[in-house]
């Protein structure tokens, strides 16, 4: 009897209670949307019925799957875009690994000067929206094919760029890699930093060559970070829409996300969601490989976390040239797009880059139908609607970041403490799934799920909390990754010691587990914060006039071609995010690198 009671008590450890709780919540927020999407791929929708003879709206059908995988449209709708998508995804991941890895090695393991500046700057490309780089590429390298003013490169050199260089898979891959290499930098940097130098020294004493050390010691230790980078960047490559559409269209190279959007706009959600399901499946495959290959090694890395720091490699006379090269690279991927945006907001008549055309009208001008584009809108800084939307965006970003941070920590705790169990694996994978789901689909499903009260869940329609929940689910993967990694580095001994001295679970969390890895948790909040500020497709179906956000209200200007306003708003957001990052670094001692679990 007492044994049974004890067992029962054991069964209700905090981590188990949490596990059940999280499985329930994530089950509703992740598995249900996934189920809905799958169901849609087997359903006849109103506009689809005309192409499925004899069918009625709402019927069960396998026609969407047949059309996608066999039949005359399979190649243009699916296989060709799939190949392009894979080329982009693999290329962008490889590039992000090389650029990010190289930068990480230089910053962590060499005597490179300006390390602080470089590691701060190296994450900015991710802070900017990815389309700014695509836009910059076109401005620089476009040729006569898409008309208008010639590209800057051609204007300066007189050399016309070839089409494959200016448009299509090549620039798509490059610009996306330039946007996502900070992932590689953060993750690999963290991993290199954590390598115990004694391991390398032992190998050296045993007579291993540098190449052998790199291959047999360093590489295996960095492998998990490489895989994580690959997973994160590869998945992004699968789902991105804006950049491929903008750069691929001129030479008619399309990707899977084009199929997804085209079929949504064509009111054929059945086919559209198959593209989404395929993207999710490919992501899950990478996730599975990650678990299979890395799973065993991950613990090995973290146990050796705190050792002697490795001595840094002396770059010798290459020290300054390398630093100059790195700074030049970062300058061109950061300053060029930001500068281009900034200049566009100052040109009274767009596209005419002359001194007399300079004006602050779009920033502080009064509403006028006669000046510049004649928008009849007040300048950004005195536009109360824009400023209100900006405030909403910041509020949302803060709330989402905080909640994600706390949830990430708790889920991380649960996953790590229950390690090796099915529940732990399930929780780990469930919390990563939203990363793979197309946000446009997620937004629509959340609208359907929360529009009305369902059981104990009240209707959240039109509330700030609906936006918050959508964002929290969407960006939880970042925070959970941070949480898991933080917990991995804390041995169970600390907590056991606290239990012995009678500390309750809350005390343990508050006094030990949280403070020890504070920096990591705060970093885990930064990525959700950054991502919320530029989220559009997830939230467009959920905002109401009372909850307008910077990105949703900017649409109004974009579709009238009033780019100075659009660019100005983007610029404001970028400035705010950079300031927040810098401030939080200083105050909280956070490190974005740890946010992804370095």
């Amino acid at each position: 009897m007492r044994m049974a009671l004890r067992r029962l008590r054991l069964n209700f450890t905090p981590q188990r209670i949490l596990a059940v709780l999280f499985l329930l919540v994530l089950g509703y927020l992740v598995v249900v949307p996934l189920g809905v999407m799958l169901q849609e791929t087997f359903t006849v929708h109103p506009m689809e019925r005309f192409q499925i003879p004899g069918s009625v709206t709402g019927d069960f059908t396998t026609a969407h799957w047949e059309r996608t995988f066999v039949g005359p449209n399979a190649r243009p709708f699916f296989y060709r875009p799939l190949i392009n998508t894979l080329i982009i995804s693999f290329g962008l991941s490889a590039l992000a690994l090389v650029i990010g890895g190289l930068l990480a090695w230089l910053v962590v393991r060499t005597n490179l000067p300006f390390k602080g500046l470089i590691s701060n700057a190296a994450i900015i490309p991710y802070i900017m929206p990815s389309w700014t780089l695509a836009l910059a590429w076109i401005t620089l390298f476009k040729n006569q094919r898409i008309g208008g003013q010639p590209g800057i490169f051609q204007a300066l050199t007189g050399i016309a760029t070839p089409d494959w260089f200016a448009y299509g898979l090549f620039p798509i891959t490059i610009t996306l890699a330039l946007h996502y290499f900070p992932f590689g930098f953060m993750l690999i940097g963290g991993a290199i930093r954590n390598i115990d130098a004694q391991l390398e020294e032992s190998a050296e004493l045993l007579g291993a060559s540098r190449a052998t050390i790199l291959r047999r010691v360093v590489f295996p230790l960095v492998l998990p970070a490489i895989f994580s980078t690959f997973l994160l960047t590869f998945s992004k490559g699968l789902g991105t829409f804006g950049t491929p559409a903008f750069l691929g269209g001129p030479v008619r190279e399309f990707v899977l996300s084009t199929s997804l959007y085209a079929n949504l706009i064509g009111q054929r959600p059945g086919i559209a969601y198959i593209a989404a399901v395929v993207m999710i499946l490919m992501g899950v495959l990478v996730l599975y490989m990650d678990h299979k290959i890395i799973g065993a090694r991950r613990s090995f890395v973290t146990i050796s976390g705190k050792g002697a720091r490795a001595g840094s490699v002396d770059l010798g006379r290459w020290r300054l040239p390398v630093a100059a090269g790195v700074l030049l690279f970062l300058f061109s991927v950061i300053a060029v797009p930001i500068g281009a945006l900034a200049i566009d907001t100052l040109m009274l008549r767009p596209g005419i880059y002359r001194l007399e055309n300079l004006s602050l009208h779009y920033w502080i001008g009064e509403a006028s139908l006669a000046i510049g584009l004649g928008t009849g809108e007040p300048g950004i800084l005195r536009n109360s609607q824009l400023m209100g939307a900006l405030a909403n965006t910041l509020r949302l970003a803060l709330v989402v970041a905080l909640v994600c941070g706390v949830l990430g920590m708790l889920i991380g705790y649960t996953v790590v403490r229950l390690r090796g169990t099915t529940v732990s694996r399930l929780l780990d994978q469930l919390s990563f799934l939203p990363y793979l789901m197309p946000s446009i689909a997620l937004g629509s499903i959340f609208l359907a799920l929360f529009a009305v009260a369902r059981g104990p869940i009240p209707s959240l329609y039109g509330t700030f909390w609906l936006l918050a929940i959508a964002c929290i689910v969407s960006y939880l993967p970042y925070a959970v990754k941070a949480g898991i990694n933080a917990m991995m580095q804390i041995g169970p001994e600390l907590e056991e010691a606290a239990i012995m001295s009678g500390a309750s679970w809350f005390t343990r969390m508050r006094r030990i587990l949280f403070p020890v890895q504070k920096a990591t948790y705060f970093s885990g909040m930064l990525l959700p914060f950054i991502s919320v500020t530029r989220e559009l497709s997830l939230l467009i179906l959920l905002v109401t006039p009372a909850t307008q956000l910077a990105t949703t209200i900017t649409l109004r200007y974009t579709d009238r071609g009033w780019y100075p306003y659009t660019n100005g708003m983007v610029l404001l957001l970028v400035i705010i995010v950079i300031t927040t990052t810098a401030l939080s670094r200083r105050i909280m001692k956070t490190d974005l690198a740890k946010g992804l679990g370095g």
């Binding site: 809905v36 849609e40 709206t57 898409i146 008309g147 085209a262 009305v452 905002v543 109401t544």
Partner: protein, 372 residues
Amino acid sequence: MLPRLPSHRQASALLAALVAAALLAFATAQAEDWSAVEEAALAEGRLVVYSTTSRTVPAGESFQALTGIQVEVVRLGEQDLIERAFQESRAGVRNVDMIVVEDWPAARELLANTGYFVNYVPPTAAERFAPHHQDPLVLGYINRIFGFNTEKHDEDPFTNVWELTMPQYSGRVMIRDVAITGEHQNAFTEWVRRSDELEAAYTELTGEALQMTEPNAGLEFIKRFLQNDPIIMTSDTRIAEAVGARGQDDPPYGMFYVYSKHRDIPLQDLALADSRAIQPTLGYYYPIVLQLASDARNPNAAKMFMEYLGTLEGFAPWADSPGVYTPNPDQVPFEGDMPLAWWEEQLWGYDLDFAVQNRGIVLDTWFRYAQR
């Protein structure tokens, strides 16, 4: 995107009930006492509008200044608006009072035929609009045209749409991606429906019969057009700027971009003009439709706003550029533009039923040949 749809029988019962309700609403609208509507509207004091056109925002502001009724506008893309209005209505969320919607074939299918939204004809529209602009009630028409660079061409270079499939235009024609533009898909269904005219135009241009591998001349055009290496863009604004920029040796040509971009010609010093000669159609035109939510919380305020949008004052935010036309015949065309009646003669629209049934085929054909 529609989890758990009602069964067919439920749907048709629902439909019947809704048609009856709509007819009733229509009948009462005819007989209704407008001053009572105004009074009730003032009592409601506010309304929520989902709109694909951002100019609804300034229209709402001037309406508010006039009446004190607060207009909250949510600006959404075509597909987003339909999706959102559909999902909300199905869930029974009564947020939106009226919609300003494009891609009417799709919207009619998902929003009107389901009974979630009904047509309403306010007094000015009933009195002044021609009958075919009243159901659905049209806020205005948008036209999309063919454009060229006037530095390169003193005169209109186009005579026939089939020219765009020929070597002299290879790699030089820009069009917004048909795959992500619902209205382009609708417009091409008309090219399928009027295949004979298109075929005749081919013969007129070349003196030969059109040899087809596709089932009709509309789809044959799509195939040949795509095989002629067109440039697929994502924004009409960028098309207009690229075609009209000065100082180009070999400027591109624009197909099916919105004519309203020509408003920017003086502002941006563009060398841009639209073709008034290309046969058999100068482009296409389509309606921006107004619909009332059938369970609106503020139906009277919405009716009053609809009325306002049918007046010249209410339409003013759209009238400040060419390429947007109210059905209100009192409107004076924008400088250099032609009145709606002229464009109706020169442009193909599209047949609603035919469009909704055939745009899937158009999209399929586009995709089949679009990939390089």
